[in-house]
């Protein structure tokens, strides 16, 4: 199974930024990701002008933190998602995000240990499994990321009990995990 060329290319660009401070690679990443980050922030209710400013901040953060990017742990898209998520909490909600610290636990080891090939295969399987989710499960997963509302409110708006939203989330996560070969 191969990883989509585009995703690999993006990861490679990010590594060029980290290793060579390559501005052309940065510009290519900007063209790809900044409009999606802006779109993500707008979906969460950020006005367009502010979303654009924040998207630029996210990309600036990418430039400064590129040396921390580990292609064996996450794709460029996942890494940028976490940066955008955290900057939004910081800038829009004016809160902190309580973060884990690897000092607190032993890194996970064993056959599931992270490596670039496992990760690449996982990304492909995840992409397919997300496509194959039943629409009602896909909808609550998507809302979880883009609605900025508690699940109780999402349930109200869908006119279904909170328990139904939770069971859809549970089923969706179990499917995605089993697609990735994790035990549910």
């Amino acid at each position: 199974m191969t990883r989509p060329a585009e995703a690999l290319a993006l990861d490679a660009l990010l590594r060029r930024v980290a290793q060579m401070r390559d501005r052309a690679a940065f510009a290519a990443l900007f063209d790809h990701f900044a409009p999606r980050i802006k779109s993500y922030l707008m979906r969460l209710g950020t006005p367009a002008a502010q979303a654009e400013d924040l998207a630029q901040e996210v990309m600036l953060s990418l430039w400064r933190k590129a040396h921390l990017f580990d292609p064996a742990k996450a794709s460029a898209a996942t890494w940028l998602f976490t940066i955008a998520r955290n900057l939004r909490i910081d800038a829009i909600r004016r809160e902190k995000r309580p973060e884990l610290d690897p000092q607190d636990f032993q890194p996970e080891a064993g056959p599931d240990a992270d490596d670039a090939i496992t990760l690449a295969n996982d990304e492909v399987r995840l992409r397919e499994a997300l496509k194959d989710l039943p629409p009602d499960q896909a909808a609550v997963i998507e809302q979880s990321f883009f609605a900025d509302k508690p699940h109780s409110q999402i349930a109200d708006e869908l006119g279904i009990p909170l328990g139904t939203v939770k069971s859809r989330l549970r089923l969706a996560m179990a499917r995605l995990k089993s697609a990735l070969g994790n035990t549910p």
Partner: protein
């Protein structure tokens, strides 16, 4: 260490997607410091976030946005926060960031002979605090106006819903009426987040509860 009580998918997704409030985020992150299974789940949820980001339609930026950003690449970066020194007593880092100290260095406020607490922060109606009960302490029968999240940091407690040990997270909503009792042996230390005041049934606690911020 075997953890029996985990946050559900809804709570983990709120943390992974960044929609959880700060107090709830703190209790989830602290649980994750104990729990490899939930760390793995959140890692998967972040991958889903990355994938969803990729599938969003692009919202074009103004033409000068790239140049404006390129022009800022050489600006000095904000001073990075230094990595904190490791905890000397195993206090999870997300919690230490709020305590400014290890758990063993907490200055507790007494409330009665066997209970002590330490407020961490309050925002809107949501508050986070530490609670410490001597072995065998009974908190008092109460129910909830909102949600009550309780994470055991040391020792343990039991109530009608089960037994909770280090790393276990109890989630009690407005339907739960309980009176947790600390296990015998060692002090029970919990991180507690409430989204609304508790409803005590004992008259003295009804009066005293609000004084202590419960």
């Amino acid at each position: 260490m075997s953890i029996r009580h985990h946050p559900d998918e809804s709570l983990l997704l709120a943390y992974a997607s960044g929609t959880a409030d700060e107090a709830t985020g703190l209790i989830i992150a602290t649980h994750m410091a104990f729990c490899a299974q939930c760390r793995q789940n959140v890692t998967l949820m972040e991958k889903i976030g990355g994938r969803l980001l990729e599938t969003l339609p692009a919202a074009p930026l103004s033409r000068q946005a790239l140049d404006a950003t390129l022009a800022r690449l050489d600006e000095p970066a904000p001073v990075a926060v230094l990595d904190p020194a490791p905890s000397r007593d195993g206090t999870p880092q997300p919690l230490r960031a709020y305590l400014g100290a290890d758990l063993s260095g907490v200055r507790w406020r007494r409330m009665g002979p066997s209970l002590a607490y330490k407020p961490l922060f309050r925002r809107g109606g949501i508050s986070a605090k530490l609670l410490r009960g001597a072995p065998g302490t009974e908190v008092g029968v109460h129910s909830h106006h909102g949600m009550e999240y309780t994470l055991v940091l040391a020792g343990g407690f039991s109530d009608v819903t089960g037994r909770y040990g280090p790393g276990d997270l109890q989630v009690a909503d407005s339907h739960v009426r309980h009176s947790p009792i600390a296990d015998p042996g060692e002090d029970c230390v919990n991180l507690a987040v409430t989204t609304a005041p508790l409803k005590f049934e004992n008259l003295i606690q009804k009066i005293a509860g609000p004084l202590f911020g419960f």
